[in-house]
């Protein structure tokens, strides 16, 4: 690991000024991703600013009739919080499918949003990777891409976002609250938080330099009865999703009043299926409705050389997740 300075900020202002003063500083959450990447020489910050001790670890009701998750609350406390389990069981389920108990105990909500792709080329500094080193090329595009994107990719980068939590947040809808370098607050709609690679694959999100995530704001809960998070993976725990689907349904006298649907493991960002959500609204749940929803979801899929399986797997996963979500409450 390269030498770095460790700074413990007593309050957000201190953290923000430290970050403003040093362009190559990084905030430290639980460190479960950042420290790994530093050991691999992928991230090379010259300063780590500890933010985990700041008072942003609360989970409390908000003015929208929903709940707000502190950015520094850890993933375990968040997923197991009685209010979250009751009102956003879809979020709990997704979060608890991630990593292991030990990692979830360390990982913060803010850090989870900013965890970087698991593309193996990104991790191996001797390989080309535009995300790690601009202009070196995308190793995965012409190499091994079985675990990569089928939506929204381009030749610059075909990576996927690895988070489970974020897939549930995309389905539920959320806001990310950030504090800017000048101390001002800013709210980013969750669907605008992560980005597609475009011609800046090194940028995963629309966060500006030095901005500190303070909270995630959830809307009034509507999917607390009918929900399911399906994660297809190579072993029963401690593995990232090949494909995942977060499905929430709000039922009203036998028809779908509202649907929240998003996929993981398919794109550079959590992949919200807005068209499918619209399609489902007002429909009666049935096998054929769900199958049509799956077709619609996969209509524009553009698989790479090694990940053609994701199209079929994605359809099956959507049908299964919607069915389970519906039947769970029935």
């Amino acid at each position: 690991m390269r030498p770095f300075v460790y700074t413990q900020a007593q309050n957000p202002q201190e953290a923000l000024s430290a970050a403003t003063a040093n362009e190559t500083a990084k905030y430290l959450g639980g460190g479960t991703n950042l420290i790994d990447l530093m050991k691999e020489d992928v991230e090379r910050p010259t300063e780590l600013i500890e933010v985990a001790d700041l008072k942003f670890n609360e989970i409390k009701p908000n003015s929208r009739g929903g709940f707000t998750l502190g950015a520094m609350a850890n993933n375990s406390d968040t997923a197991n919080h009685p209010d979250i389990r009751k009102n956003y069981p879809l979020l709990s389920m997704a979060m608890l499918s991630a990593a292991t108990a030990q990692i979830r105990n360390m990982a913060t909500n803010g850090g989870n949003l900013l965890q970087r792709t698991r593309c193996p080329y990104f991790y191996e500094t001797s390989m080309p990777c535009n995300k790690r080193e601009t202009g070196t090329g995308c190793g995965a595009r012409n190499g091994m891409n079985a675990l990569h994107a089928i939506f929204g990719w381009n030749d610059h980068c075909v990576a996927v976002h690895p988070s489970d939590m974020c897939v549930a947040l995309a389905a539920i809808g959320a806001n990310v609250q950030v504090q800017q370098a000048n101390g001002q607050l800013r709210t980013i709609d969750f669907s605008d938080f992560h980005r597609l690679p475009g011609d800046r694959p090194e940028k995963d999100t629309n966060l500006q330099p030095g901005e500190l995530i303070t909270a995630i704001e959830l809307p009034k809960p509507v999917f607390s009865d009918h929900y399911y998070y399906l994660k297809i993976r190579e072993r029963s725990s401690y593995a990232f999703a090949l494909i995942s689907v977060a499905a929430g349904l709000q039922m009203q006298s036998g028809t779908i009043a509202n649907a929240g649907l998003a996929m993981g493991g398919v794109a550079h960002k959590p992949w919200k299926l807005t068209d499918v959500e619209k399609y489902l609204k007002g429909k009666k749940p049935s096998q054929s409705t769900f199958e049509e929803a799956a077709e619609l979801a996969m209509k524009d899929a553009k698989p790479l050389e090694d990940n053609k399986y994701k199209v079929e797997m994605g359809k099956k996963a959507i049908v299964r997740a919607l069915t389970q979500a519906y039947e769970r409450g029935a």
Partner: protein, 723 residues
Amino acid sequence: MKTVKASGIGNPIDRVEGHLKVTGRAKYASEFSVKNLVYAQGVNSTIAKGRITSIDTSEAEKQKGVLKVITYKNAEKQGTFDKEMPSFGLTTIAPVFQSREVFYYGQYIACVVAETLEQAQYASRLIKVTYEEEIPDIHLEKNKDKAYKPDDQADYSRGDMKAGMQEADVTVEQTYTTPNEHQHPMELHAAIVSWKNGKVKMYANQQILEQATTAIADTFMIPKENVQIITPYIGGGFGSKLRVQRHVIMATMASKMIGRPVQITVTRQQMFTNTTYRQFDEQRMRLGAKNDGSLTALAHHTTSHTAKNLQYYEACGTVSKMLYKTPNNEVTHRLVPLNMQCPASMRAPGEATGSFALESAMDELAWKLKMDPIELRIKNDTQIDLGADKPFSSRLLIECLRIGVDKFGWEKRKMEPGTNKDGNWLIGYGVSAASRRAPYMKTSAKVILKLKEGTVNANVQMDATDIGTGTYTIVAQTVSEYLGIPVENVKVEIGDSEFPVTPGSGGSWGAASYCNGARKACENAIAELKKKQNMAEDEEVAIVDLLERNNLSTFEAEGTAEPSEEYKKHSVFSFGANFTEVWVDKDTGMYRIKRMVNVGSAGKILNPKTAYGQIIGGLTMGAGMVIAEQTKVEPNYGNFITRTLADYHVPVNLDMANIEVVFLPEEDKIANEMGVKGIGELGITSVAASIANAIFNATGKRMRDLPITPEKLIAAEIESDVM
């Protein structure tokens, strides 16, 4: 001989070293405190083929704490291979930094030595290297024209394969593939080495000390007596610690050059590139049988790869020579040299992978014959090893299968795939037969008896190792048994190359060899003490009385046990049967292993607890072969792209099923005097086939390429002869 009922052999006592381990007092290679210690870090090549054109170490050398950077420019001359592409054996030398040439991705090209590990690791990143790069050979398929027959393995055939296939009513001709896999013991490879006055003393996790000292001595061209290895505890090896790997040589060279003790610990990433692995195997199987199930022909052709400068082949076909009665048989192995690190043994080399191919093919044959796969195996049982033309010392395969049928509830299996359902789940049952050679080798031990206040204590010394298997415990039980003293009074001292020579831990020969060696030392002690008193050899007398009568407070004896003439006239194998129930999700390709039953016949079980642990570990590793284990090779650069335990998936607890392990009561006195056979590798053998066969029974899909991941299962077609 008086048996100490509570602690002698056959009793499931707790590990005698258990407390030391769980309290962290059992010392592993990198945990010894040595004065004046410095740290070394290996630097890896980032090309797979070519040569170094420049290597700039100046920046690294400037760093605080850095003592030395070793490269091909300043390395001392070491031993050289006596031919161009020698076999990779247990005493093979491991020279480092002898030229600019790079043969594989990740080859060590430099070593940084510094006062602290952090300084060494940081400085290692600052070394700048340029290469003259060549296009590496990394695709087996594209280089098949270069395939050659390994020096150590002649082609085998008996009868007439072609005639056998023609005579058959039903045939199976299929190819099975298994990926590169890594051993990944929990404990990283490590060494602390001190070179002083031409002598080397090291703490290093080597499985076989006698052979390792030879390899190190030959690499440095010094007498073997000048090398001492100490390794009281080893945190798993699975074959990767059999041979001397290059980090040991780097640390030794560094210690010699700077005159201080040097510690090196291989990183988990380097455990992929620098400490061997199991190679990719492509196995072509051809089977023919009569309608009644009797085999008329069996051929097993394996193609795998090896390094450009060393040859190692996995003997996948061995199992097809001996497991079934077939008059016509052909077994060959071919190696394709690639720009990859030399592969080497991983738990049950040959058998683990070979049994996947053979036992899958047997299942395919059973399905084509519409015969119960258990009956097919029983039909072709043989008490003679036709490949070696010798009788088996004992073979209870049929009994293993029959007892497994009852324990598992095999009668509930549906012959037709896809017909046993529960909601979204398809349920399948699978079976496979397991066999693993049970070698037994010459082993010496020394026993030191001490009499004090009417109590006898014994120390036993041998250069054996405990790789987590339970050597301490079973040797203590043996000494307890043969001296008739409680196990608490026995102290086992192993893991030092200066102790009497044993074959070390590997190839499932450890338990049988170690215990018989210890037995012999105890027997000699008693015999010598009796002789001094002119007592009859068979006179019953307690060891305490013997010492007292001799008026001795301490007494030493050595013993050497070795295979008998009878042993050499027989084929000695352990046998077993695996039964698996899997539940496959009909849509998502995910599946769960619900139950496993393993029935084994492996001679006398020294300690059911440690033996059980071996089988559970084997079954888990076998399940790993199916669920996810694979090291992927980047097709353009030739590096392993799976490079941490986050992407090299081994099973987690949740993946593992309810496991039932049954040992048949057996004592194979031909195998050795104690009737003990190896089990360390039996447990992994054919597990993969029993799971793959269960998946077929559940889904009608034949999965011939391991691992069986959800993406492969989704893409696979149902076999055309399944309704």
